[in-house]
């Protein structure tokens, strides 16, 4: 395999949470928590995930707009190829260890396109100056030469050289994003980070800008890290995709393969969210339950287990998958103290006006949380019933105890390793782990 232009290893970015008079650190928001991937020369890697999963933080840490907490970003572009590790294990091309001079040199080889075209240009500077400023910063003093280069570049991205003197407010969003691309290109970099470059644009303009990015990439052999939350955009521009969830990469592989055969349940859910023009297949989207957990206190084990529709059942239980998911959701509600018996009581009283009996309350709870009136698994039913008894008699602690001790998933206990599905396609889910396979074998007996 040829040397990757960029290889990220175990990159972490934690924002400390400080509190109190002396700014004591009480925790950290783990925006990016150990991601690793490679980008080959000329390749586009898509980084996809929902809002707040750490995509943009990953981008700014890689390009060192922010200093990462931990990890290594080796950049081999811009004539740095073929470097070998030093004796102490550090890499001479490690961006996170670049000094000021090396960093400025790195800026010439790696640039970025920003998300919001309306705020990515200085409103008080002609756009030509904004683009030409990069040349100036890197030592091109000749004003006429700067103007010629920027004018030529503006023409290449589909604008006119006369637009040099115009101000950002005189352009549309799509035009500004073209200028944004021109700014990223003007130093002739090898690598570009595109942070949601089209998410603020209309559909038609989106397609134009995407095809422009594609053309430019082919012409100049750029490598791109393309960040998006939109799977359809990813499919149209990326060679490979990395799916992020809560600061971790849960699946990475070739775009075609991931779209055809997603291995991680989260990827499945994301893919099912792509709107399809075919009305017959509509409505089969996977709906993720529960809220996105906070990155300052991520769930144990597999971080996705609190919302996963394929969450694994313990050996002793045999429930329908959907019911099992709801049962876990219900357990989470009770555990977090979000369950309120008075609400239930009120709902029942509203319907018919007498003091509700315990049975009525229990029915109402099952109704509210979409639990069936009787679970198919007898032992589970017994535990649930006892827990509900405790809940209606205001004994929440005992109910929590019962629910959490009985309804646990292996996903919450074991952190899944990456499983390789061939040809660089990896995912981290317990379903693919040997552990899970052993389980399946046992239950088959």
């Amino acid at each position: 395999m040829t040397e990757p232009i960029l290889s990220v290893r175990n990159l972490k970015k934690h924002y400390p949470l400080k509190k109190g008079l002396f700014n004591r650190q009480v925790g950290a928001v783990k925006a990016v928590d150990g991601i690793s991937f490679d980008i080959a020369p000329g390749e586009t890697l898509g980084l996809v995930g929902e809002s707040g999963c750490g995509k943009s933080t990953a981008a700014t840490s890689i390009i060192r707009l922010e200093d990462p907490t931990e990890g290594e970003v080796v950049f081999n572009g811009g004539g740095r190829a073929g470097a070998t590790r030093r004796e102490d294990g550090t890499h001479p091309n490690d961006v996170t260890k670049f000094n000021k001079r090396e960093l400025k040199r790195f800026r010439r080889d790696a640039q970025m396109i920003f998300q919001d075209p309306s705020s990515s240009f200085n409103p008080r500077m002609p756009v030509g100056d904004s683009v030409g400023e990069l040349l100036q910063v890197h030592g091109m003093k000749n004003r006429a030469q700067r103007r010629a280069i920027v004018g030529d570049l503006l023409e290449r991205v589909g604008l006119s050289a006369d637009d040099y003197d115009r101000y950002p407010h005189e352009f549309s969003g799509g035009q500004k994003q073209r200028i944004g691309l021109a700014r990223a290109l003007v130093l002739n970099p090898d690598f570009i980070v595109a942070d949601e470059p089209v998410s603020a644009l209309d559909v038609s303009v989106k397609a134009e800008v995407l095809s422009l990015i594609n053309d430019v990439q082919e012409e100049f052999g750029l490598s791109i890290l393309f960040i998006s939350h939109d799977m359809s955009v990813i499919r149209s521009v990326c060679d490979r995709v990395a799916v992020m969830y809560l600061g971790e990469i849960v699946e990475i592989g070739d775009t075609d393969e991931i779209f055809a055969d997603p291995q991680h349940p989260y990827t499945e859910a994301l893919l099912s969210s792509i709107p399809t023009p075919n009305p017959r297949i509509r409505g089969e989207g996977i709906e993720l339950t529960g809220t996105v957990p906070s990155p300052s206190n991520p769930p144990s084990g597999c971080r996705f287990h609190t919302r996963c529709h394929k969450v694994i059942q313990p050996d002793q239980l045999d429930l329908e998958q959907e019911v099992w998911r709801r049962l876990l959701d219900f357990t989470q509600y009770v555990e977090k103290g979000e369950f309120d018996i008075d609400d239930i009581r009120e709902t029942v009283t509203l319907d018919d006006e007498h003091d509700p009996t315990e049975e009525e309350l229990k029915e109402q709870i099952r109704d509210e949380y979409d639990l069936p009136m009787t679970l198919t698994d007898a032992s589970a039913e017994q535990v649930l019933n006892e827990a509900l008894d405790n809940l209606v008699t205001d004994n929440e602690a005992a109910a929590t105890e019962q629910l959490t001790s009985e309804f646990t998933t292996p996903c919450a206990e074991t952190k899944p390793d990456y499983t390789t599905h061939g040809d660089g396609h990896r995912s981290s889910c317990l379903l693919h782990d040997e552990y899970a396979e052993a389980e399946v074998a046992l239950s088959d007996d």
Binding site: R108, S119, N122, P123, L134, I149
Partner: protein, 408 residues
């Protein structure tokens, strides 16, 4: 050209880039150096070499051996240090505010289009231009108002006053009332000083206060605010607490104290109020700078490899400018009012003819000679109103982002 410089971005050989020049000084800086430095040198010369009773330019002519030429040209001025600072500030204003407007014609047209929507502001601007031109050029054409007891209480043109109040009527006397004349178009005071001349010389003082305090406040406020915003951490904390001290400092009492110990002229007034008036501006600039520095274009500049100074100078400060200018136009009226109040109470600088003094000189005669109070009073009132209108309009005009967003 000996070697053709590449004009395509992918043909630039960055490692062997030969710059055409050394450190370049902008045209604005050059103009400021050419005009401002002589003025400052003159100020130093005036302060250290010229005696108290000598006129600066007369002495300068002697020292340069050009007395006769100076005399022929009528160069016999004796500028005070406030005058010299005022001239310097005007140059600063010309090269760093007016000239950039000309250099960025496109943006200026846009600003003007936005600005002129606001009619009161346009009228305000015209009024302030009159005050500015009158203040700068007026003293060269209109002599300082002088005492002339025979011409006391002359009424303004088209006005009249009961004969008993005047010693000698310059105009005609009809029905026992003295009629106004064009010799004193706005009438005279008890001392026979021409009110028009007083108002014109008052314009100079007004503009001096407005310009010099603004310069002091802007210089300290912008520097303090941006440094505080960019330094962050405990530096920011200390600087902002210092601003709290400045803000809660009893400037007026401090000024009175200085007044009783050293006696205080206009220069001292400007200095004290300027040096203690920047607190709010610094705070404002800091908050604006903090919000601007979160914008994507600042990140984009950072990623281009630019240093912090460049980012602050070229991107952060220009984008805080609209709020700074607005804030400054809104604090100028405060200084003007403070000066007028002190002058009215009789503790201002008696050597300079301010509007406040003119108002104060007419208060005993308000029942029969109201013009003495009304004319400078109206001038002061309108000027303060104009600054306020202007501030509002500038805020609206200088904000292309808000405009672009509202069009969406």
């Amino acid at each position: 050209m000996a070697t053709q410089k590449p004009t395509k971005f992918d043909q630039v050989d960055w490692d062997n880039l030969t710059g055409s020049g050394r450190f370049k000084i902008s045209i604005n800086m050059k103009l400021l150096l050419v005009t401002g430095v002589p003025v400052l040198l003159l100020g130093l010369y005036d302060h250290f070499l010229v005696g108290d009773r000598e006129a600066t330019f007369v002495r300068l002519g002697e020292d340069l051996g050009l007395s006769s030429q100076f005399e022929a040209l009528g160069l016999d001025f004796n500028p005070t240090s406030v005058d010299i600072l005022f001239v310097f500030t005007i140059f600063l204003f010309l090269w760093y505010l007016v000239l950039p407007l000309y250099q960025n014609m496109r943006m200026t047209k846009y600003y003007w289009k936005e600005f002129k929507r606001n009619r009161p502001a346009v009228i305000s601007l015209i009024w302030l231009t009159i005050i500015f031109v009158g203040g700068v050029l007026g003293p060269f054409f209109v002599a300082m108002p002088e005492q002339d007891l025979f011409a006391a209480y002359q009424p303004p043109v088209f006005g009249s006053i009961d004969q008993v109040h005047v010693n000698q009527c310059v105009g005609e006397i009809s029905d026992g009332r003295c009629q106004g004349t064009w010799e004193y178009p706005l009438g005279t005071t008890r001392g026979g000083q021409d009110v028009l001349a007083m108002v014109i010389h008052g314009m100079t003082v007004t503009m001096q206060i407005a310009f010099i305090t603004t310069m002091i406040v802007a210089a300290i406020g912008i520097t303090f605010g941006t440094v505080s915003a960019y330094a962050g951490g405990w530096v920011d904390e200390i600087m902002m607490r210092f601003v709290d001290i400045v803000l809660s400092f009893p400037t007026l009492l401090f000024f009175l104290l200085i007044l009783y110990i050293y006696g205080a002229g206009l220069g001292m007034f400007i200095l004290v109020f300027g040096l203690f008036g920047w607190g709010a501006t610094a705070r404002y600039v800091r908050s604006k700078a903090l919000s601007v520095s979160e914008e994507e274009f600042v990140k984009a500049t950072k990623i281009s490899g630019a240093g912090t100074y460049r980012i602050v100078r070229r991107h952060v400060v220009p984008n805080t400018a609209s709020s700074i200018i607005t804030q400054l136009t809104l604090i100028i009226p405060g200084f003007l009012l403070a000066e007028a109040q002190l002058a009215f109470l009789g503790i201002g600088d008696t050597a300079v003819p301010t509007w406040g003094q003119a108002i104060s000189s007419g208060r005993n005669a308000i029942d029969f000679a109201p013009w003495i109070v009304l004319v400078p009073g109206m001038a002061l009132f309108l000027t303060i109103l104009a600054f306020n209108f202007l501030g509002d309009a500038i805020l609206d005009a200088l904000n292309p982002e808000a405009e672009a967003e509202s069009e969406k």
